[in-house]
Symmetry: C2
Subunit: 160 residues, 2 copies
């Protein structure tokens, strides 16, 4: 089984992503909301990431830009519903290259004996939008990002 499970059922405008990390829940959560940590792992390795805004509170807006080696820029933004915490993050997500197409993402971080089970559910405005996301190379980007997150949490963990 691949480390990152990405589940997309036919006819349902939803993607469920499941991944476990060998790190405590608080650290995995922090890596999702602290811009200094985020830029070190979110997305594929070939892109560099800059955080424009990351207002981690109920109603707060987040925005970041991914830059390719040729200088192409890809902006993304959304808003938090409820205050993000290790109990969960609810946020919207919009790729600025495809405006008007939005997903709603719900992340949960479960402690499994010192490790963390991350479950992410994204719902889309239509099955077509969901399929467009899958065809954009999202699976590779997510899997590679989570590998980078494995490395990051290993660096952050206290030496025992």
């Amino acid at each position: 089984m691949p480390k990152t499970q990405i589940i997309a059922e036919p006819g349902v405008p939803q993607i469920v992503t499941i991944r476990e990390f060998d790190a405590p829940r608080d650290l995995v959560f922090r890596a999702h909301v602290d811009p200094e940590l985020l830029v070190k792992w979110l997305g594929p390795r070939r892109l560099t990431m800059t955080v424009d805004r990351y207002d981690v509170r109920n109603g707060g807006i987040w925005r970041y830009i991914h830059r390719d080696v040729d200088g192409s820029e890809f902006g993304f933004h959304g808003v938090f519903h409820g205050t993000p915490s290790p109990d969960g993050i609810v946020q919207t997500f919009e790729f600025e290259g495809f405006p008007g197409h939005v997903s709603l993402d719900s992340l949960s971080f479960e402690d499994i004996g010192g490790r963390t089970h991350l479950r992410s559910v994204s719902v889309f405005q239509s099955v077509e939008d969901r399929d467009g996301m899958l065809e954009s190379g999202m699976e590779t980007g997510v899997s590679e990002g989570y590998e980078r997150l494995d490395e990051l949490v290993a660096e952050q963990a206290p030496v025992s």
Copy 2:
């Protein structure tokens, strides 16, 4: 066929609502974003509505309160993705009595020879959340609200 079609397929975390109005597209759109008009139709007749915020722009927050005759209050809020226009509204929706449970709503207003075809797609974080919304009496509230909107647009229409 009922005037308001509410479609909820088994296993899909989505509700599609379809309704036609005997009024121009711009007026039906305006009734969705102008607080002075909104309070006259949104929701069942027994509730009175107060708009707290309605910041109709990309990233803007909306919030309103419904009050029952016994004084009970029900708050709702969300955020707009993209600037609302007659071409469409994309917004999140959260009932404050059930925090952390959010839907993403996409509304489109199509001109059909001077009348308006309204299509609303709501996607939920889970099928359970979707079913909870249906069981809350949403169908009655939506149908009754749209009847009130019929009356409102009839009042607003120019006398010909």
